[in-house]
Amino acid sequence: MEKFTGITSQAIGLDMHHVDTDMIIPAQYLTQIERNGYGEYLFQRLREQDADFIFNDLRYQSAKVLLTRSNFGCGSSREHAIWALMQAGIRVIVAESYSDIFYNNAVKNGLLLISIEAKIINALIEKSKQAMLMISVDLHEQFIMTSTGERFSFDYEPFRKACLLKGQDDLDYLLEATR
């Protein structure tokens, strides 16, 4: 698993609740047997249907921080959704909440999911639409900071934080625990 300590990047705002894993990567792209090659299909259906969809906007193509709303990643358990997001460059998601399986899958791949209250998210998404919004994420100190100087702290499970900072995955832990 990739180590994660912090990042500074442009943010992209996906102003939707309940983004499901079929939206993130449609089932027809799951017939591969590799872990790679999913990035180009990220949000494929939504990108096809709507030329104005935010992931079609080239101004955001280097964004590594995704801002979105509640229950992100609901639906199917496909870990391909995590792989697609990461292979498209996303390293951090800041949202109100996530589905359980998606959350579990993310921590196993080094994708940092941050939960922040709705009104802050809404404000950040609005800002990201109007102008280039840069966000710095510091996992060690557990805060995010915007290029306009706002700072928000977030909660994160200590065990998972230690895993991410060290890039340690569950399998080594389980092998040791069941030896």
């Binding site: 079929d22 199917s76 870990e79 399986i101 196993k108 389980l174």
Partner: protein, 456 residues
């Protein structure tokens, strides 16, 4: 201290827990299919690990395979490679695969229970979010990702945080023309797609006690659609009768011992739940979804509501607030999936289709959940009824539920479906899905428009 059934199973499976760490949870059974396992085996090989308990694992083919009669000839080269990879992996690691010619190939959540592989009190996982289906037997069953599939292959454990518990009590008995599909759709419409997030549900109520195992599986199957990790039903005589003499079920003295244990699993009087929800089903009507997620569902006689933040749903399904859902013309009808692909579902459909014709404008697929369901349907002559009515009875698989194979609803066409998700493009790019019960789908197929069996 009194415990609920979820806590009993959870506590019995704690292998280890360090302070401040998640639980190392023992996993009794793992189910595999071709789509979420290849990368897990590759990781095992990369780390030079073996499968710790191959005897606690079964595999089958379901998601990406064709449902045509010449299904051995897989045209999609990726799907073909996926199938070949599962065959090779199961052979190399000594895992039982139920392949096309085994007589038991099918959707993993139909095949597992049919074989008695799913037992009360067990922890069961699969790389599929509808694994809660197995909760119908009083098992703690939930979907996991591919990384966790690797963990279970290698160690028969996974790391889990303790979930909260929720009691869902259904009040009353099921009215005519409704089924457990309508019950679970009603619950999801009531509490929302994230209503049970972070929880495992125990379902109770007189309607549940009166219900067959097939109906209980339908109910537990859609637990994930209200955000629950899992959903389960305490085992009873109906559970034991179903399991008796099934291939993987305990035999002779082991059976008696097992029953004794299973009878202790039920929730204790005065046990605690983090959340309690009651749903009155005494006047339940058939349910249908109108939008793009399973909570956007109404009774068949209701009008489509005007709700905030749903512009995308109205636009996608080409429906407007204030319209009736009933009588909306349909192009497709789909019977099948891990939700409603069992023999009981097919009997309900045959009963409605008998002596009737599927409307000219409608194409109807009936896809059995497993080879065993298919054979049973043929034995009972249901296949004849289907073909005389003009429906297509196909080979087992996930098919049009997620449209990974060639079974797709064409763009812009409307399908009434017994599956579990009405997400954007779920049944094919640009397809529109209305979820409903087998009875409602069969009735709508005859009429060519959304209606209930009562309306015929």
């Amino acid at each position: 201290m009194p415990k609920n059934i979820i806590e009993k199973i959870w506590d019995a499976h704690i292998h280890k827990q360090r302070k401040g760490h998640p639980v190392v949870l023992t996993i009794d059974k793992l189910l595999l299919h071709e789509v979420t396992s290849a990368q897990a085996f590759a990781e095992l090989r990369r780390r030079k690990l073996t499968v710790r308990h191959p005897e606690r694992i079964i595999a089958t083919l379901d998601h990406s395979i064709p449902t045509t009669s010449d299904r051995n000839n897989i045209v999609d080269i990726n799907a073909k490679l996926q199938v070949e990879t599962l065959r090779n992996n199961t052979k190399e690691f000594g895992i039982q695969l139920y392949d096309f010619d085994s007589g038991h190939q099918g959707i993993v959540h139909v095949t597992g229970p049919e074989l008695g592989f799913t037992l009360p009190g067990e922890t069961i996982v699969c790389g599929d979010s509808h694994t809660a289906t197995h909760g119908a037997f009083g098992a703690l069953a939930f979907g996991i990702g591919t990384s966790e599939v690797t963990h279970v292959l290698a160690t028969s454990t996974i790391l889990q945080r303790k979930p909260k518990t929720m009691l869902v009590e259904f009040i009353g008995s099921l009215p005519e023309h409704t089924s457990s599909k309508d019950m679970i759709m009603k619950l999801i419409a009531t509490i929302g797609v994230a209503g049970a997030k972070g929880h495992i549900i125990e379902y109770t109520g007189e309607a549940i006690r009166a219900m067959s195992m097939e109906s209980r599986m339908t109910l537990c199957n859609m637990s994930i659609e209200c955000g629950a990790r899992a959903g389960l039903i305490a085992p009873d005589e109906i559970t034991f009768d179903y399991l008796h003499n099934k291939p993987y079920a305990p035999k002779k003295s082991e059976w008696d011992k097992a029953i004794q244990y299973w009878k202790t699993l039920g929730s204790d009087v005065d046990c605690y739940y983090d959340n309690v929800v009651q749903v009155d089903i005494s006047r339940l009507k058939p349910m249908v979804t109108w939008g793009i997620n399973p909570e956007q569902a109404i009774s068949i006689n209701q009008i489509i509501p005007n709700i905030e933040d749903a512009e995308q749903a109205y636009q996608y399904t080409q429906l407007k607030p204030g319209w009736r859902i009933k009588n909306q013309a349909i192009d497709w009808a789909f019977i099948g999936s891990c939700t409603n692909g069992r023999i009981e579902d097919l009997r309900i459909v045959a009963n409605i289709l008998q002596g009737q014709q599927v409307a000219d404008a409608v194409r109807m697929y009936i896809v059995p959940g497993s080879e065993q369901v298919r054979q049973q349907a043929i034995t009972e002559g249901l296949d004849q009824i289907f073909s005389e009515a003009g429906a297509e009875f196909r080979m087992p698989g996930c098919s049009m539920c997620l449209a990974m194979n060639a079974d797709k609803v064409p763009e812009g066409q409307r399908c009434i479906s017994t599956s579990n998700r009405n997400f954007i493009g779920r049944q094919g790019p640009g397809s529109i899905t209305h979820l409903a019960s087998p009875a409602t789908v069969a009735a709508s197929a005859i009429k060519g428009a959304i209606c209930s069996a009562e309306d015929l």
